[in-house]
């Protein structure tokens, strides 16, 4: 179904450009107008308006407008049609210009797919883009953002236990992956490997992953890729609809409840609103053999959105608040290397625990607020101007296992680490009117001002940061070819303030760089397409890489920053081919990402002495690194209703300057699933049962003597899923999903889980998911 959806989308898009029609010199008449939905009054995009009996027709544009030119005077029958609506015919007598507006009536069976044709993503079209939406997104409901993306080829996670997961794209993560939350660069303390993105996935109806360097459109830092978290368009002038999601997980006895209500206003035309909220509570996670003490989670999130549309003008306001409290496994607190070696030797944590929902020290509390206002205007001539401002406030508090010994200070119960990061972003994007109907493009300016206030144990300095970027992208589209090229310049000014020996020290940094992109997509046929892209991106060293100086307790390592670090620059080539037949499809992609001056922690020969003993000493250093990989995905309906699908993620990383390997590179993995689609029965639709297996290899390419423990052995996990939709009535439906992860309660540890030194990974986790949709 998705492939059919995409080919339809492509078909419509390609025709949209071919609005030029054969001309007859003597005929100067024209007919134009707007096609609207009779019920909602919304313009209908991509509807066909044709003259019956002639080979002459056009599609409506993004405002539902159409125009047929160079017609000879006479009588015509105009027909307007689009899937999902009843076709409409109108006879006209043409003498000169004529305006004919259509108001189409929705068909009883409204194919929702049509709505998708109106969606537009700014992502470079020649780069691989994987989108999770609809039923696929529903299956991930209740999980964190990082975990939701695990199913995408080429994407893995960097975890701290089971509740903190950061997405890893093609081996890169944290500051090298940019997250666009509803069009805004997510600005938190991304440098920390235990700082998960502060985003509620329930906000989104689409989560997309752009793989590879995408610096031109999204700005610096997008070296590994970009994650786009996108809510649905606001339901302007639509009746009230909503949904309620409830998910229960057996492991951690976690419950998640999330609801959305949205609609228009009867008395104000052009208005749409949405309110959404999520509550999550979970307790101690259980590995196959024991509970992990203090691994509960508590989350309360909500968002509000409202928008107004009038002719070409659109205004949207969005506010979201994410508030989480996460317990950190108490057995992961170590004071010295001896402590760590003892836990490793013991094979399981010393701290034993039963089940509890309580969240004690150590824990982290993070809140993230986003306030965004966006306004755009479509000019009649096809130009579009968009202006977005946003303010983000990220407040992160981290509590150590031990309170201060001093009773009066301990009584305050202050976090040992507090970060308050405020970011103001400002983006103006101008989409110029298509040149010759084939070349479209964007020019944009982005600025960011940010300040970080830090208190507690000195870890990173206070800083002020100012960024400005200017970009220009052009895209040439025909039915067979899509070519694009773009250029960007970014400037960053960073001022840091820290206390050294009780004195304030200020440092000033300036960074500036160009990024570029060039790519092509070739559609050989409706089924077969290929794309290639060469892009660059850069990333300025972040404050922790510049100024870290101390023991990283989770890692039992002494980490020291280097204030002379230069920005990293990535040159990424990526190519893929896709073939989609009705019964089978396959997509093969390869990439070669070369990163100049790649910043990493280099082990130093001599350990460093502290009061807790000698710690291995790591210094932030630069090298040149290459990331080569292959992503393969395919599916085959080899029997009626039975589909087998496979995904392969393969990655090799090499330190080119030092002829060696790098640490913390995700091992290769192979995902297989067998799915049986059940026949619809009465009110039950879309039923399925599927069984899946994930094989994760052992990471053998690691530098020698760089770790306390070699990477864990390969593991294989089985999973089981089933689901169905119950159509209660035209306006109500209930979706039910059952999911069992780690079906056989396999004991395993993952190389990219920072708790692999201390404890096994999560055991069996069964979940039941209910989704009630009403008013739809």
């Amino acid at each position: 179904m998705p492939s059919a959806r995409f080919s339809l989308l492509f078909f419509l898009l390609s025709l949209l450009w071919q609005t030029t029609v054969a001309q007859k010199p003597a005929c100067e008449c024209f007919v134009k107008g707007v096609v609207k939905d009779r019920h909602t009054g919304q313009p209908i995009i991509g509807a066909t308006v044709l003259i019956v009996g002639q080979n002459n027709g056009v599609f409506t544009d993004t405002q539902g407008r159409y125009e047929l030119r160079n017609l000879c005077p006479g009588n015509y029958t105009l027909e307007c049609r689009i899937i999902g609506y009843n076709p409409f015919q109108q006879k006209i007598d043409l003498t000169a210009g004529h305006e004919e507006n259509f108001n189409l009536l929705e068909q009883e069976v409204h194919l929702k797919d049509v709505e998708i044709t109106a969606h537009r993503t700014d992502a470079p079209s020649s780069q691989p883009l994987t989108t999770i939406s609809g039923a696929d997104l529903d299956k991930t409901r209740g999980q964190t953002l990082g975990e939701s993306l695990k199913g995408v080829t080429g994407v893995t996670t960097l975890q701290t236990g089971s509740s903190i997961a950061k997405p890893v794209i093609h081996g890169l993560h944290s500051n090298r992956v940019l997250i666009m939350n509803n069009g805004i660069r997510q600005e938190g303390q991304q440098w920390g490997s235990e700082h998960a993105p502060e985003i509620d996935p329930f906000i989104a109806t689409r989560i997309s992953v752009v793989k590879g360097a995408a610096g031109v459109r999204y700005g610096s830092d997008a070296i590994g890729g970009v994650i786009l978290v996108e809510p649905e368009e606001l339901p302007v002038d639509k009746p009230i609809t909503g949904e309620l999601n409830a998910v229960g997980f057996s492991n951690g006895r976690q419950g998640v409840l999330s609801g959305t209500v949205q609609g228009g206003l009867n008395f104000v035309k052009g208005f749409g609103w949405r309110a959404q909220g999520t509550i999550k509570r979970g307790g101690n996670i259980r590995t196959p053999n024991y509970f992990l003490d203090n691994t509960g989670i508590s989350e309360n999130n909500f968002s509000l959105a409202a928008g107004y549309r009038h002719k070409g003008l659109g205004i949207d306001v969005f506010y979201s608040r994410f508030d989480t409290q996460i317990g950190i496994f108490s057995g992961s607190h170590i004071g010295s290397v001896t402590d760590l070696l003892n836990v490793i030797k013991n094979g399981e944590p010393f701290v034993k625990s039963g089940f509890s929902y309580a969240i004690n020290r150590p824990n982290q509390n993070a809140t993230h607020e986003l306030l965004k206002a966006e306004t755009h205007y479509h000019f009649n001539d096809g130009n579009r101007l968009q202006w977005t401002i946003a303010r983000q406030y990220n407040n992160r508090n981290e509590f150590d296992l031990h309170r201060p010994r001093n009773d009066s200070i301990a009584a305050l119960n202050h976090p040992e680490l507090t970060f308050k990061l405020t970011s103001l972003t400002n983006d103006v994007v101008w989409d110029h009117k298509p040149i010759a109907g084939k070349i479209s493009g964007q020019v944009g300016v982005s600025t960011l001002y940010q300040y970080n206030l830090m208190s507690g144990r000195p870890l990173i300095p206070n800083f002020n940061q100012f960024n400005a970027g200017l970009f220009w992208i052009e895209r040439y589209v025909t039915s067979k070819w899509e070519l694009e090229a773009g250029l960007r310049y970014d400037y960053r000014m960073l001022k840091t303030y820290r206390i050294v020996n009780r004195e304030k020290i200020a440092d000033h940094f300036d960074f500036g760089n160009f990024s570029g992109t060039a790519g092509a997509t070739r559609n050989f046929s409706e089924r077969f397409s290929a794309r290639a892209n060469v892009g660059t991106a850069w990333r300025a060293p972040n404050v922790s890489e510049l100024f870290s100086d101390g023991v990283h307790h989770g890692a039992a390592a002494y980490e020291k920053g280097d204030a002379t670090l230069q920005p990293e620059k990535a040159l990424n080539s990526i190519a893929s081919v896709k073939y989609a037949a009705p019964k089978w499809s396959v997509e093969v992609g390869g990439y070669y990402n070369y990163i100049f001056d790649f910043i990493y922690l280099k082990p130093q020969p001599e350990p460093i002495l502290t009061i807790r003993g000698a710690f291995p000493y790591f210094k932030y250093t630069q090298t040149d690194a290459s990331f080569k990989g292959i992503d393969v995905s395919g599916s085959w309906e080899f029997m009626k209703r039975t589909t087998i699908s496979s995904k392969l993620t393969y990655l090799r990383v090499y330190d080119e300057r030092n002829d060696g390997y790098l640490v913390m590179i995700p091992p290769n993995r192979l995902d297989n699933a067998l799915k049986y689609q059940l026949a619809d029965r009465g009110k039950w639709k879309d039923g399925f049962i599927s069984i899946g297996n994930m094989l994760v290899a052992e990471q053998k390419r690691v530098p020698a003597n760089s770790d306390f423990l070699p990477p864990p052995k390969a593991y294989s996990l089985w999973s089981l899923q089933a689901g169905a939709t119950l159509k209660v009535s035209d306006k109500q439906q209930v979706e039910i999903g059952i999911n069992v992860q780690n079906l056989f309660n396999t004991v395993y540890r993952d190389y990219l889980n920072r708790f692999r030194y201390y404890a096994d990974d999560m055991g069996r986790n069964a979940s039941l998911r209910l989704k009630w949709k009403f008013g739809a």
Partner: protein, 184 residues
């Protein structure tokens, strides 16, 4: 077109105002006075029956990182002698200097000092104090040296809130130092 121009100006004007609430983080940088460090450990050996006191210290006044430790003494003791051993912990990064020994004493039911000589024959440590749960603490005790020899003395402060059971296993290290020990 008039509309376009108006809109453009509106955007530009709004853009410039967006930075009005800029703030300077440099004004708010302050030293950390709440997080306690242990920057120095001093072992005081008093030869029993005399007033001969030898002290040996580890000192890293600015804590981990920054400047390297300024002092890491070699413990030098007489063979076959019994000493009274007292330990003192300070946080010298604060002013005034914070006495951590006192705080350990107040929360003695969460702390345990562990003295481990290597080779074991060099020294025998006997705890001289007990917490309210009758578990040893190790702020004071006695150390009896064996025959002459060289080795190390590992000094650990185990922080064991809610888990102290008299053994070193629970908790984590707040101090973990290997002093060079010479018995001669």
């Amino acid at each position: 077109m008039k509309m376009n121009r108006k809109l453009t100006w509106m955007l530009l004007a709004a853009m410039t105002t967006a930075f009005v609430q800029c703030k300077d983080s440099g004004d708010e940088v302050k030293p950390d006075d709440e997080n306690e460090l242990i920057t120095s450990v001093t072992l005081k050996f008093t030869e029993q029956g005399t007033s001969n006191v030898s002290t040996f210290s580890y000192k890293d006044a600015d804590g981990d990182g920054g400047n390297a430790p300024t002092k890491f003494d070699t413990i030098s003791l007489k063979p076959n002698t019994t000493y009274t051993l007292a330990i003192e912990l300070l946080d010298e990064s604060k002013s005034p200097v914070d006495d951590i020994t006192k705080e350990v004493e107040e929360e003695s039911d969460e702390h345990l000092f562990v003295y481990t000589p290597s080779p074991a024959a060099l020294l025998t440590y006997t705890y001289g104090d007990k917490d309210k749960n009758n578990y040893p603490i190790g702020l004071t005790g006695s150390a009896k040296t064996g025959a002459a020899g060289n080795g190390t003395l590992k000094v650990q402060l185990r922080h064991q809130p809610g888990a102290k059971n008299g053994t070193p296993t629970p908790g984590s290290d707040d101090v973990n130092l290997d002093f060079i020990l010479k018995v001669k």
